[in-house]
Symmetry: C2
Subunit: 205 residues, 2 copies
């Protein structure tokens, strides 16, 4: 039977992602990944040049999924004609999926990457910056349309757009430190309510 | 000349804090801490039983400083008689100190601790949960007073209070991933403006 290299690579990445999110990157050894994935050192080094190369591949895959979730929320709300209502429903889309997100993982891979300078310096963190840029651009467009339609001043739309990333990451850390995954849904609800208030009143300087 | 043990302990903690925030805990060796602190292994193990004990001491000191900053902001705004205005000025207090915070550190120690399961499991993360509880209680009191004085529904005041922690931690990660420390001030400004809107309009369910 021919070996399916793609399946093996994905299995290694799945095992590594779980270990790195739980334990951190430096605290995860290649041997631990091999044991968890049920594969050999040879198979590992067939797919990855080094442990740092694995970190890069992990982050690339995670960023792709992250941007996929952004697009899913944009698509799910594309038919809403009122731009301000679309912003609110865009956030509600994530609020509704918060419990599913937190049942699949106890923290965000981005936290593990950003905790270690070796991954910041070697360009792995640049992949996260790319995700931030894509989210910022899409949400800035949503917010600008909403501000125009309601003749509101929302302040700097890019900073406000970044607050969605900030809420996700901060909520991951709140969940992790308290051991209570329901904080993710609660914090996305707080964000939705604050944005609803801002879209009704504007945001004073 | 007698050795001053307290000064030595603080010097080790200062060096370790910088290294752990930059590189992560697992990626920081005791030898690196000794070199950065200019001290000996004997001095280190006089003050700390183990590397994990160092992590606990680091986090204890950081939590004490964190709660100190909360109290400084409460004290600085204690004379403001309008409870809603006090909430806004309480956040502005941190906004005004954001650049100083970010010139002293590139990330939050909490991120390094929460990235590693060994520190979550051994009780180090419980120290962070204590800090979260203290911030939550103090800010919930501020928000509840503001909601009462303006007869507003602010939703769950504890979740809204947690959003301050969430904003700080998420903004640290935004700064770290983009290499732009000015995002801390920008995100605290976003939080202040969103809270100002909420205190003017309330937050619809």
């Amino acid at each position: 039977m021919p070996k399916d290299g793609t399946i093996n690579r994905e299995r290694i990445l799945d095992a590594a992602q779980h270990l790195v999110i739980e334990n951190g990157f430096a605290a995860t050894s290649v041997d631990q990944v091999l044991r968890a994935a049920g594969t050999s050192k040879g198979a590992f080094f067939h797919h990855f040049d080094s442990k740092l190369d694995l970190a890069r591949a992990l982050t690339e895959r995670y960023v792709t999924a992250d941007i996929g979730q952004l697009h899913a929320a944009l698509d799910a709300t594309a038919q809403i004609s009122d731009p301000a209502q679309r912003v609110v429903e865009f956030i509600r889309h994530f609020e509704d999926s918060a419990d599913d997100i937190m049942s699949a993982q106890s923290n965000c891979l981005y936290v593990a990457v950003l905790a270690e300078q070796q991954l910041v310096s070697n360009g792995t963190a640049d992949l996260i910056r790319h995700a931030i840029d894509v989210w910022r651009a899409a949400i800035t467009e949503l917010l600008s349309a909403a501000a125009t339609s309601r003749a509101l001043d929302l302040g700097d739309a890019e900073d406000l757009a970044d607050h969605v990333f900030v809420t996700f990451e901060g909520a991951f850390l709140l969940c992790r430190s308290t051991g209570s995954p329901e904080h993710m849904r609660a914090q996305l609800r707080v964000l939705r309510r604050l944005l609803t208030a801002a879209l009704s009143a504007g945001v004073p300087a």
